[in-house]
């Protein structure tokens, strides 16, 4: 393997790992802020003690996750220069701006106000303290916005010109109002709410099942988390649908690839499963729902959807000879099904949990063993998030910036395969190691903490 492949692998591993924590930060920060708002508006003395403990309980889980997200984010910030120096040179005039703005407008407020929040319980007024976590939540979600502005440019360049062999910014407003940002950001925002909310549901379910003293408070938490997560799941589905429709114009190659539609068809069928033969540019066998793909794109059972082979011919006309099909159509196809399948499963699970805590409260005791098994389902939103990013990034290949620069020429020319092997193994090892310790610390904390009115 050469430095290019290894650098891609390293970027994939570190980004996906980073994005395990990011959605939790995005969604859980808002949920903890909501909990604290509930706390400062609550009445009786006993209620206040319990709610404060609850805020600190989910606050602590949030902080462990937040720390993991922050440290893995530093790697990403430096990665563009370390492994992708030619990309940084080509794109710096455009890509650097949102990255610097992310640091200036989001990282500073996140990191400063998280410190105030952790250590400020006795030093700030209740309202000011609550405001701190809202500011953290705002900062986290703002940082996601900036980085997705940068990523959207790579997927769909706008507001630029090519001068002296590099891309330069001509219109900042166009950059941040890139239609790609709308779909990508809303999808990521709601994915955050879903992931954060679902984590609260799982933790609450487990506490309801195993900790009788705290059961009452976790049932009440679960009710709120169910509503919150439901909003997230519906939002993620709506924004995903909207974004897929946009892709038909914005990046049809990506759309056709994750649906493995090789030839242009009208009406286009949806392949439920397919045996993909990328070399031959066709599916060897497939199970189809007629007209369904057209319906997803056009809201109507007829309408043309362009196929991969035709898009390849168009790309050759536009960019000269070359292979412009993402090199892992099979991976994208199955990732899409994993993402949508996980999303559908989440919708169902959240609905069932909602019925349980809202309408069958008295019967919760009969279902404790089911609730205790809920942690098995925790990977679902994380699978969906990772699969979603895989589609977004693998679907951009062979380009690093669609139409402007290929991934193959973006890698740092001074790196040897040996050097990248060292860092690839190093990052992977420390990430695995820290994941074990962080999860261990979180589980021990969840296990021993009780939410009761005793001081």
């Amino acid at each position: 393997m050469d430095a290019l492949i290894l650098s891609r692998l390293q970027f994939a591993i570190t980004t996906i790992y980073h994005f395990l924590f990011v959605p939790v930060t995005l969604g859980l920060s808002i949920f903890v802020a909501l909990l604290e708002t509930w706390y400062i508006n609550s009445g009786s003395y006993e209620e206040r003690i319990k709610l404060k403990k609850l805020v600190k309980f989910f606050g602590t889980i949030f902080l462990i996750n937040f720390a993991m997200g922050v440290v893995t984010g530093i790697v990403q910030e430096f990665h563009f220069g370390m492994n992708w120096s030619e990309y940084a040179r080509f794109m710096g005039d455009i890509f650097g701006a949102p990255l610097a703005l992310e640091a200036l407008t989001a990282f500073f407020i996140e990191s400063t106000f998280i410190g105030l929040w952790i250590f400020g319980w006795d030093k700030l007024s209740e309202k000011l303290h609550c405001l701190c976590i809202w500011i953290v939540a705002f900062g986290s979600n703002l940082s996601a916005f900036w980085i997705l502005v940068a990523n959207s440019f790579m997927q769909h360049p706008v507001g630029y010109a090519i001068e002296d062999g590099r891309a330069v910014m001509t219109d900042f407003v166009e950059l941040v109002t890139n239609p790609y940002v709308v779909g990508e950001y809303s999808h990521a925002f709601f994915a955050g709410i879903t992931t954060g909310g679902f984590l609260v549901i799982v933790v609450s379910a487990w506490k309801i099942a195993t900790d009788e003293a705290s059961r009452e408070m976790f049932i009440r938490t679960m009710r709120r988390a169910v509503l919150y997560t439901m909003l997230g799941v519906l939002g993620v589905m709506g924004s995903g649908h909207m974004h897929a429709q946009y892709l038909a114009e914005g990046n049809p190659m990506k759309l056709a690839s994750f649906e493995a539609l090789w030839e242009t068809e009208n009406p286009a069928p949806f392949a439920v499963v397919a045996d993909i033969n990328q070399e031959m540019g066709r599916n060897d066998s497939e199970i189809l729902i007629p007209g369904m793909f057209s319906f997803m794109v056009h809201n109507s059972f007829c309408g043309e959807v362009k196929g991969i082979n035709d898009l390849q011919r168009e790309a050759v006309e536009k960019y000269g000879s070359g292979y412009y099909i993402p090199n892992d159509v099979r991976g994208m196809f199955w990732s899409f099904r994993a993402m949508v399948g996980s999303g559908g499963a989440l919708l169902l699970i959240v609905f069932v949990m909602g019925c349980l805590v809202f309408f069958c409260r008295n019967k919760i005791r009969d279902h404790l063993c089911c609730l205790k098994l809920m942690p098995i389902l925790l990977p679902l939103p994380f699978i969906a998030n990772s699969a979603g990013w895989y589609i977004a990034e693998a679907g951009r290949q062979p380009w690093i910036v669609v139409g402007l620069q290929k991934t193959a020429v973006a890698v740092s020319p001074n790196l040897s395969a040996g050097e990248v092997w060292i860092t690839l193994i190093g990052f992977t090892a420390i990430y695995l190691f820290l994941a074990v310790l962080a999860v261990f610390a979180a589980v021990m904390f969840i296990r021993r903490t009780k939410i009761t009115s005793e001081e």
Binding site: V71, T72, E77, L99, A100, F108, S111, V168
Partner: protein
């Protein structure tokens, strides 16, 4: 004054802020070496509320370099590949350690994470020293701005002395910070004794570093740089005097100034270059051949003019909130 110069100054400001603020964070981490756990906990608590915000100065310096001088970002980070990797490992361990060390009460658990903090403070301090010296001393960079050397080119004697100098300077600065943040009087006195010794060693290495740098680089070519470094050394001496007389605020303020003027002097020596090429002066990266377009620089200047003051205001406010000294009783919290 054109925007390229404005951005060179802004990058200088960001690195100055970074070295001052993370300087004492790294220093506090290094001062934990060989201390009992209850003292280490107080040290961690002293920087607990602010270290994360301080670290963002480094991230912002990196991001701003990317935005304003993308070629510098590209060349620097790819040249220092393995060194940066080591620094990232250290920073990862350190960042997680702050959060996890207090989560379980086993002494092995706490010791492990404290090791992470010490390691994660020492390594970046050393490597930043090495990096900074190499920028000025020159890296084998060819006409395409590509690094054509290897890892061990970075570890020349001059750079290693620079690295040790940074370690000592930050440790001293961190000890000074602790002396004004800790409430336990005997502990402060003990720290100040150690800190005085550290300060004198720092001075020694400052002189050694200056001598090496004068020989191997053009750091003393400009009179203005000589003046800045002179102020910096004077501040360091004042800081030692403050430590000796038990005047903690004087000591900390002076070591802050020493770091500030060292950074300013260093960037002044570089100007208008940012990375020197050891192959040919024509291949050096400077504020013009490595910069973004005037359009992007203008945009970023507005952004910086608005947001940097806001950041300074709320970070200053957060320091004000946590201005009280940390007592041994405070550390049960974290």
């Amino acid at each position: 004054m054109d925007l390229n110069i404005v951005w060179f100054i802004l990058i200088t400001v960001l690195f100055t802020g970074f070295f001052i603020l993370e300087g004492f964070d790294y220093g506090v981490g290094m001062m934990m070496i060989g201390r009992p756990v209850h003292e280490r906990s107080q040290f961690v608590r002293a920087i607990g509320p602010v270290w994360d915000g301080n670290e963002v100065w480094m991230i912002t310096a990196g991001g701003a370099t990317f935005a304003a001088f993308p070629h510098v970002y590209a060349t620097m980070f790819s040249s220092f590949y393995l060194a940066l990797f080591l620094m990232l490992l250290a920073l990862i361990l350190r960042g997680v350690a702050f959060e996890l060390r207090g989560k379980l009460k086993y002494s092995d658990w706490i010791s492990f994470w404290d090791f992470g903090i010490m390691f994660g403070s020492f390594i970046p301090a050393f490597l930043w020293g090495v990096a900074v010296v190499n920028l000025l001393r020159g890296l084998p960079i060819n006409f395409e701005m590509h690094f054509v050397g290897h890892f061990f080119d970075l570890l020349n004697p001059c750079a290693i002395i620079g690295g040790i100098f940074f370690v000592l300077l930050f440790a001293f600065h961190g000890a000074n910070f602790l002396a004004i943040k800790i409430a336990d009087i005997p502990l402060i006195q003990d720290l100040q004794r150690k800190s005085l010794r550290l300060g004198l060693f720092t001075l020694l290495f400052y002189v050694l570093f200056a001598a090496f740098a004068a020989f191997e680089t053009d750091i003393l070519a400009k009179l203005s740089t000589v003046i800045f470094l002179g102020i910096s050394i004077a501040a360091l001496i004042a800081s030692c005097a403050g430590t000796y007389s038990g005047n903690g605020f004087k000591a900390f303020l002076s070591s802050t100034l020493a770091i500030a003027f060292l950074t300013i002097g260093f960037f002044n020596a570089l100007f208008p270059r940012i990375i020197v090429s050891s192959i040919s002066p024509d291949f050096s990266l400077n504020i013009y051949n490595s910069a973004s377009t005037p359009h992007t620089l203008t945009l970023m200047t507005f952004a910086a003019a608005i947001f940097v003051p806001i950041v300074l205001i709320y970070q200053a406010w957060s320091y004000k909130i946590f201005k009280e000294r940390v007592s041994p009783a405070d550390v049960n919290y974290h």
